[in-house]
């Protein structure tokens, strides 16, 4: 049974997530820089490119917020703020090594519920400014949610099934020997896809896509924009991080302490996701919906069935 983390971990958690988000965004900026301007050439130049997200954050802090006519300020603001809040709350059940800020008996359900908050958040942020394009962006996320959520929940269920518990600590403990990714590869891949979709990022950035001039974020400026887009990076970090206890053995690993393994594995998953964006265009939801329901749902169901049979026979 994993022990609860000390109280100070509650304070450290958002900071650690923010640092991880900044590092991931920096890595992404270096890759973007290579595409836009060619190889960096020097370490100094690479560093300058990696600092782009930090500069961007500062710029947004200096920018004045703006408002649109007949906007629903309350709901719009709520949507913007909910994104980082949902990410941090979901992060509360994320075990660092073998300890989480909180490890309730229904940790996996809690995680999924916090992610579902993002549905409301993006839609509200799209609704708030009273603008056609931002509303289109908000609705796109609802469609995206319908497409990814069901396969995603089956993937989560599969991991819980393998551990016979909804407690995240138990899921980690059950991977003492064999990581779940070994015998649940389909669930793992589906989980990674939905991690991107949940953070509406990269190939699943349709709600914020360029064809709608920025979609749900089109009217956001200044601090609003910073909180919204920064929150998106937090979501990406948290969802990527949660794949570690679910499928990659959590803190299990030789030599290094548990927390170090968590960091290493999370970094590896994040790098994979950030690199995936280079290789893939944005997937339009009307196309993904079909695949999600016709291919991914049956696949995850079969995966869950296989796991259930194994669990029953051991």
């Amino acid at each position: 049974m994993p022990e609860a983390a000390p109280l100070w971990a509650t304070v450290v958690l958002p900071v650690a997530l923010a640092v991880a988000a900044l590092v991931a965004a920096g890595f992404d900026a270096v890759l973007s820089g290579a595409a836009e301007r060619g190889p960096a050439g020097s370490v100094r130049e690479t560093g300058r490119r990696a600092a782009a997200p930090l500069r961007e954050a500062l710029r947004l802090l200096v920018q004045q917020p703006r408002r649109t006519t007949a906007a629903d300020r309350l709901l719009g603001r709520l949507g913007v703020v909910l994104i980082p809040v949902a990410a941090v709350l979901a992060g509360a059940v994320l075990p660092w090594g073998f300890r989480a800020v909180s490890d309730p008996s229904v940790g996996i359900v809690w995680f999924n519920a916090m992610e579902a908050l993002a549905w409301a958040a993006v839609w509200l942020a799209g609704w708030g400014p009273n603008s056609a394009l931002s509303l289109i962006g908000g609705y796109r996320f609802l469609a995206q949610g319908l497409a990814y959520e069901l396969p995603h929940m089956f993937a989560l269920t599969t991991a819980a099934l393998g551990a016979e518990s909804l407690r995240v600590g138990d899921v980690v403990a059950a991977q003492d020997g064999v990581w779940f990714v070994v015998w649940m590869p389909v669930a793992f891949v589906v989980y990674l896809l939905s991690a991107l979709a949940m953070a509406f990022w990269g190939p699943f950035a349709h709600p914020l896509a360029r064809d709608a001039a920025g979609g749900a974020a089109v009217e956001l400026a200044g601090v609003d924009r910073l909180v919204f887009l920064g929150g998106r990076w937090l979501l990406l970090v948290v969802t990527a991080g949660f794949s570690v206890p679910l499928f990659l053995g959590g803190g299990h690993g030789p030599l290094l302490p548990g927390w170090a393994w968590t960091v290493v594995k999370t970094a590896a998953v994040l790098m994979l996701l950030v690199a995936a964006r280079r290789a893939l265009p944005v997937v339009r939801m009307e196309r993904y919906m079909e695949t999600a329901w016709m291919v991914l749902v049956p696949l995850t169901l079969v995966q869950a069935l296989v796991v259930a049979v194994v669990v029953l026979n051991r």
């Binding site: 782009a52 500069r55 649109t68 007949a70 360029r210």
Partner: protein, 424 residues
């Protein structure tokens, strides 16, 4: 200097830029984009995200209030600069950007009260024109309704207004159900959008019910349209090499492909296409670009996800294209948006071989990047003509991909008399 001022100065050191091109100033857009890339200033696609509005081309005296609206919807500190076509463009662009940054930093360090509603004095450049009667109103993106929607000439505002904004009207949908219908004008202030194009969509849910094609006035300039320049110059009897023509064609297609890929959400490859375009325009030799170009073209051609994502959009069979007077790659592609993209890529690869060809271009060669330049209508006029049929019934998410896959060049609309005189 106090810390606050220092932070503000640092923040505005690399302002985010919204770059818009007007018809007739096509050559400025790649130049501005290249300069912004060199300076590592972020380029954004909505006024809300921008600090600096760069207008490529001097707007006409009338009907430029859409630019004021865009500027007004930018968060403070907001600055606009206008770069005109002319001699010493590169220097002019650099000077304008430097001046804009100085102005931005000044405003950020000493913020003025009540920035938004107020009409600010702008740096240098043209006089601001008071909004005249709104003959046709141009909205950039459907927001800031107060100053836009009420000028819509669709005249169905019986529902009453909310905060000065008209409600959506209702109309039968494709299944005969009465549903809300919203009129959303698109352009001319969008990024990755044909300069000056305005499409007035009637949207029902996310289905495009109808579309009216309109555009900003295209100035009758002395210079031929940028992308068609080598062929038109050759037609006038000037000495143009085949290499120059191939170079311009490759750059034009890279520009179009970059826009389509950006709209399809593949930023990485779109950025590469733009960089290659600018290298070609700057006169890079074949050996300098061939490796990266081939890699990029292959990457796009091989992506199954891209194909899966945009195939089937804007289907334009060859017989329909021919009937509409379409020539060039859109006709040869004989298919959907994806086929047209592949056709551009194929022509780029073919053009690559002729890049260093110094033989003169045949004066009767009029096959410009977008089609035959000696037809009864300019190639882009034909592309504009097929747009409504392709867009009607499409879903909103596909509409911009369809537009980008045709990529009409509105500069060509001023072409017709020019080609006529070339024959004489």
């Amino acid at each position: 200097m106090d810390l606050r001022a220092l932070l503000r100065r640092t923040a505005m050191n690399r302002p985010a830029v919204l770059a818009l091109a007007l018809p007739g100033a096509t050559e400025l857009r790649p130049a501005v984009e290249a300069e912004l890339r060199r300076r590592q200033w972020p380029v954004v696609d909505a006024p809300a995200a921008a600090d600096l509005l760069v207008v490529c081309g001097v707007p006409a005296a009338e009907g430029a209030d859409w630019l004021d609206d865009i500027e007004r919807s930018m968060p403070a500190p907001a600055v606009r600069v206008v770069v005109g076509v002319g001699e010493g463009e590169a220097r002019q662009i650099a000077l304008a950007l430097d001046a804009a940054r100085r102005e931005l930093i000044e405003r950020a360090v000493a913020p003025q009260p009540a920035e938004h509603a107020e009409h600010m004095e702008h740096m240098e450049h043209q006089e601001h024109v008071e909004p005249m009667e709104h003959v046709h109103h141009m909205d950039h993106q459907g927001h800031d309704h107060d100053s836009h929607m009420d000028h819509m000439d669709h005249g169905t505002h019986a529902m009453g207004d909310i905060a000065g904004l008209p409600m959506a009207e209702r109309a039968d949908d494709r299944d005969g159900l009465r549903l809300d219908r919203l009129h959303v004008p698109f352009g001319p202030g969008l990024s990755d959008w044909p300069a000056g194009l305005i499409l007035r969509f009637a949207l029902q849910g996310d289905v495009v019910q109808g579309v009216e094609v309109d555009h900003l006035p295209v100035p009758a300039v002395q210079r031929p349209p940028f992308w068609d320049e080598p062929w038109l110059r050759a037609a006038h009897g000037e000495e143009v090499t085949r290499g120059d023509a191939a170079r311009r064609r490759c750059a034009a297609h890279l520009d179009s492909a970059g826009r389509l890929l950006a709209v399809a959400g593949w930023d990485d490859v779109a950025a590469r296409c733009r960089r290659l375009r600018d290298e070609l325009l700057a006169g890079a030799t074949r050996t300098e670009v061939v490796g990266e170009l081939r890699r990029t073209v292959r990457r796009v051609g091989r992506s199954r996800i891209l194909r899966w994502s945009i195939a089937g959009l804007g289907r334009l069979p060859a017989d329909r294209a021919r009937a509409a007077g379409v020539t060039g790659p859109a006709l040869a592609a004989d298919g959907d948006a994806y086929d047209r993209l592949l056709m551009w890529l194929r022509e780029i690869e073919r053009g690559l071989e002729d890049l260093d060809d110094v033989r003169p271009l045949a004066p009767d060669d009029r096959s410009g990047p977008r089609g035959r330049l000696d037809g009864p209508r300019s190639p882009s006029q034909a592309l504009l003509d097929v747009l409504p049929a392709l867009l009607t019934g499409a879903e909103f998410a596909g509409a911009r991909i369809i537009v980008a896959s045709l990529d009409p060049d509105l500069d060509e609309l001023a072409l017709a008399p020019a080609t006529g005189s070339a024959h004489a």
